[in-house]
Symmetry: C2
Subunit: 124 residues, 2 copies
Amino acid sequence: MNYSKQREIILNTLKENVVHPTAEYLYDVLKKSNSTISLATLYRNLNQLAENGIIKKIDGLESSSHYDHNTHEHYHFICDKCKKVYDISADVAPDLVKKAQEETGFTINGSDIVFHGICKDCNK
Amino acid sequence: MNYSKQREIILNTLKENVVHPTAEYLYDVLKKSNSTISLATLYRNLNQLAENGIIKKIDGLESSSHYDHNTHEHYHFICDKCKKVYDISADVAPDLVKKAQEETGFTINGSDIVFHGICKDCNK
DNA sequence: CTAAACTTGATAACAATTCTCATTTTATTT
DNA sequence: AAATAAAATGAGAATTGTTATCAAGTTTAG
């Protein structure tokens, strides 16, 4: 992977975002800050960054993928009403990957763990 | 939900499938058994069945959704090489949903828990 | 038996993502 | 720093999975 200005901007924009944005959301943010990054370049770089373990692609949330700059093991919750994505500590299931590996005998390289329901705000 | 012949066929076909098929896979199976079920009807019914809790739609595996006739709590593993989908017992993380609920205070209605890596067969 | 509600098939439409390809940037070798 | 190879880019076309539309057929309750 060579250095590229665009990739740097994309990564920084993702890092500045507390939420877990979709490509489309990032694209809008980038456009507003006058970056002339094309949608293809955005997708290409998000995929590359994820393949290199620098960011994490979160699937299973909605029809579109979300991206997370936090690669430490943790899970996600999406509110079915407001669609906000929250982090859940990996402490709720200690050694989850290890145990799954023991049970199956498979080599586990990653996991996508997503809960959905209604968040506190929407429950009011 | 009214009775419908098509829905019955779709549900039975899904039940007979030990794998966790995609809509496309099911469509092929149905065509081979001379069912004249249109793709739209298939998708419509899979969604309805899932909404009514009769089957489960599994997201986060691949670009397309998979469907599971087993609605008891359990997790999934997809082999990145052969793309086969395996079940993982919920025992690897007892009370996962309950704990996540306690930690967050959110109402959790469901979860998609997917591990990926290389299965035993492909590891040989 | 009739009317209202539901379901269907065929196909168009859609949204998210990837591909193509000519041009530009970055890295490497001299 | 010039030449060359390798990687990245932008723009838009293409692809994939899924949903919407709508006229016609089916199911169900009264």
